[in-house]
Amino acid sequence: MAKPKTFDTRRQAGFTAIAAFCFIVLYLPIVLMVIFSFNSGLALTSWEGFSLSWYVTAWHNEVVQAATIRSVIIATVATVVSTLVAVLAALVMGRGKPFRGRSAMFALINQPLMVPEIVTAVSLLVVFAWVKTTTGYSGLGYLILAHSAFCIPFAFMPVRARLQGMDQTLEQAAADLYASSWQTFRRVTFPLLWPGVLAGAMLAFVTSLDDVVITEFVKSAGQDTLPTYMLGQMRRNLTPETNAIATVLLVFSVVLVVAFFFVSRENHAKAQL
């Protein structure tokens, strides 16, 4: 067969069709879920007209309110803790001389990513069950500690990446001009680091907010977060209320991810300068 003049060497038969199929498949179930959150009827499949009633129902549901507040408290504290801790660690790990224990430290920080969530969940269940009976404390502290730990690698990665691409001559210049090491950090290092810190904090927040498995095993009675509440609803009674809650959570995550995308693109553009 003769090659046509416009033969595209990059083309592979059927690849574009499969790609199109993938993009449709990735979004179709989510879009349908969102559409049915606006259904006026109780059914999850037959469309009975547009209505916001399920959002209103969810808004007035006291259990949902409590779970939302709990989710936000846990995610906020875990984000602050993990980001602080990750920035301190990244300042050591992100640059400077290699030192003894450096690779062990990397392994420790990345451990929550390597170990399957279910394994971390049951190990925390075991340890926290013992601490609970010994101390009698059964507050949100366990969930906050667990979330802080598994958020550390997410907060760590962007900060470290930022540090590695950072121009060190500015800090040397500050030191040459007799800035103290704190002044150098406060006035030079931290402002340069800030986009990475922001990106890391956003990733940590989304990760904490979305967590199901570890929360499900660590939580005490009556400590449902929004995802574990939804997990419970999926087994019991499914109404479009679950769709409505899922949609709100979805929109929130998407906004954060898109914001992250632009923050890191900004980072990238600046690094190119």
């Binding site: 060497t9 499969i18 993938c22 349908l32 030192f99 451990q111 279910i118 340890v127 979305d210 995550s253």
Partner: protein, 305 residues
Amino acid sequence: MAATQPNTDLVAANRRETRNRWLLLLPAIVILLAAAIGPLIVVVLYSFLVAGDYGGVVWHFSWDGWLGVFTTSDPFDGTLSLADAHISILWRSVKLSALTTLFCLILGFPTAYFIATRPVSQRDGWMLLITIPFWTNLLIRTFAIMGLIRNEGLVNGFLEWLGIIDQPIQMMFTDFAILLGMVYVYLPLMVLPLYASMERLNFSLIEAAYDLYATPFRVLRRVIIPAVKPGVVAGSILVFVPSLGAYVIPRILGGGTQLMLGNLIELQFGQARNWPLGAALSLTLLVMVTAALIVYVRASANEGE
């Protein structure tokens, strides 16, 4: 004396530097010890203890937890036999994870290639479309799949409306449902590393192959696939590892009947009240995942040579 003075200064400075370094690392070490690595060590310990009657453990050394992974002991005479239930769950976990990896590769490879062959200015946008589902709550995506395949779901509703079927097709609580859910949820994990490899693909090699009268299929097999092999390996591991440890997807889409390893572990800490067995099963999963990661590290190290 004067010559040694700067030397001791240097030693002191070094010592101070080391101390500051570990002071900065200390908060991370404390939190990770308390809520990540420490509990894991406790699980190792628990896997060698005796199960308590109402959950928990009795502090007495025993191999029962580990023996229970593959065997069951007869309640009357104590003879061991293979635990068919556990083996079939382990097999289902490995089989479904391998199939998930395969289907993600079949779908993800052309998608990554499609994105890598777009104009540079468009690629970030296409990748954002892959990244958004990746950062969307796993529970929500599983729920979205459930909305499609339930007996009262959209697929069955649509087929009934068309008049193709009278009775809904039972898709929930089957291996198919779990497979579908896992492919859907983990597909972005395949596309991300594949794209990273393909972005660096040297397209003049492809042109050279066509100049030498290669067919498009031969170009794919002999030029493109070998060049992006690191991405294929990375993507496959990134999909296989979380599939093996999946818990939420089989719990929702597989129901109480089609268990995977993650659900079997939960069962031991819940209804079955056999914590040592649950601990041993958790470590079995961890070993499988670590083995997969080691294969990956070896493979990528070989690529680097």
